[in-house]
């Protein structure tokens, strides 16, 4: 992996961090609100079922997390286990894909 790609990964980490910052503020406010109303399936699904705005929001949230978390894990694994190179990059790529798929599934689960 050349330096230019590494810089682009760093930019992606910071960009998704900014997106996640906004998403998480919304998420935290929503959670406190939901807890006050009593957390039931009806309460959650009443908000998300058939609501394309929430669906789009959660898809963006999932996409950003699916990029941000693996890149963070890549740094932690490299620095604590001295694991570097193609095998690490493949492993975190797999993690990213898994998060994207499971996350999209979860978003669909509360929308569809």
């Amino acid at each position: 992996m050349n330096a230019r790609t590494q810089v682009l990964l760093w930019v992606a980490q910071r960009a998704t961090a900014a997106v996640l910052a906004l998403c998480i503020v919304v998420h935290l406010v929503t959670m406190v609100y939901a807890m006050r109303n009593g957390l039931t399936a009806a309460e959650i699904l009443g908000r998300t079922r058939g609501n394309t705005a929430w669906f789009a929001f959660y898809l963006i949230f999932v996409a950003a997390a699916a990029v941000h978390a693996p890149l963070g894990m890549r740094t932690i694994l490299a620095e604590t286990l001295a694991w570097r190179g193609r095998t690490l990059d493949c492993a975190v790529l797999v993690l990213g894909c898994a998060l994207a798929v499971w996350g999209a599934r979860a978003a669909w689960a509360v929308f569809g």
């Binding site: 992996m1 050349n2 230019r4 810089v7 910071r14 620095e79």
Partner: protein
């Protein structure tokens, strides 16, 4: 307590001062701490202590120093776990329960006792393109750079580095990522990135970008915390991140 005559500079104060228990790293990569008892004196520095040990207790102790007045950086060592200039560290300021622990700088190969091999430190300086490349010759007029210009202010905040290695020793990313150029090399690169007379900016930015360069910094700020010249390499490294990100997003590098 060792015997000494009351001759010369290190006269004993009246009333038998307490002894300072000093643990000193001996050996190379493999080694251990050896204990000495050193008379505790007023205004004593850690370098005074090391010097006392080598002259009076164990002449085989290896250590570096030069100016002994806080301008050269040669006496940099780890004192009670923190990298410092020993000539500028008063024993009274660091001793805990009349004990001081002295070890060589971290992150560098140990040659012997308190002496480290500084080659990788300076090699990384060169790899970061930490040298000036100008365009003018002696037959041209001086370049005019206003000290008040924003770029020059950035340079001035970081230019006083004397390459002592304290920041390099303090940095954990240097420990975890053996290719990492380190705070001093990156700080110097930053001063040159902001030098309007230098014409090697493209090569320099390529040299300090990526996992071995500025992007590996996690803003621990141990370097800025320990720098005896109060330079904040973290600030310069953040600056490099900004400049390089902008260049890459414009299609450069």
């Amino acid at each position: 307590m060792t015997g000494e005559e009351g001759a010369g500079v290190m006269d004993r104060a009246a009333g038998s001062p307490p002894a300072l228990r000093v643990r000193v790293w001996r050996g190379g990569e493999a080694g251990g701490f050896q204990e000495f008892q050193v008379p505790r004196l007023e205004s004593q520095t850690v370098l005074d202590v090391v010097t006392y040990i080598q002259r009076n207790l164990d002449p085989s102790l290896a250590y570096r120093f030069a100016c002994r007045v806080g301008v050269c950086g040669s006496c940099a060592m780890t004192v009670n776990g923190k990298a410092r200039w020993t000539c500028r560290t008063h024993v009274a300021g660091v001793a805990q329960d009349d004990t001081v622990e002295i070890a060589p700088l971290n992150n560098l190969p140990v040659v012997k006792d308190l002496v480290t091999d500084m080659r990788e430190f300076f090699d990384k300086w060169a790899r970061a393109r930490g040298r000036f490349t100008g365009t003018r010759s002696r037959s041209e007029d001086f370049a005019r750079v206003s000290p008040a210009s924003p770029a020059r202010r950035e340079v001035d905040a970081a230019i006083e580095c004397i390459g002592c290695g304290v920041c390099y020793s303090a940095c954990d990313v240097v420990t975890w990522n053996r290719e990492y150029l380190g705070p001093a090399a990156l700080n110097r690169a930053w001063t040159l990135v902001n030098d309007v007379r230098d014409n090697a900016q493209a090569e320099r930015m390529a040299a300090v970008a990526g996992d071995a360069g500025c992007h590996a910094c996690h803003t621990h700020m141990s370097c800025s915390e320990r720098c005896p010249k109060q330079i904040a390499p973290t600030a310069g490294i953040a600056g490099l991140k900004r400049v390089i990100a902008a260049a890459v997003l414009k299609g450069g590098l």
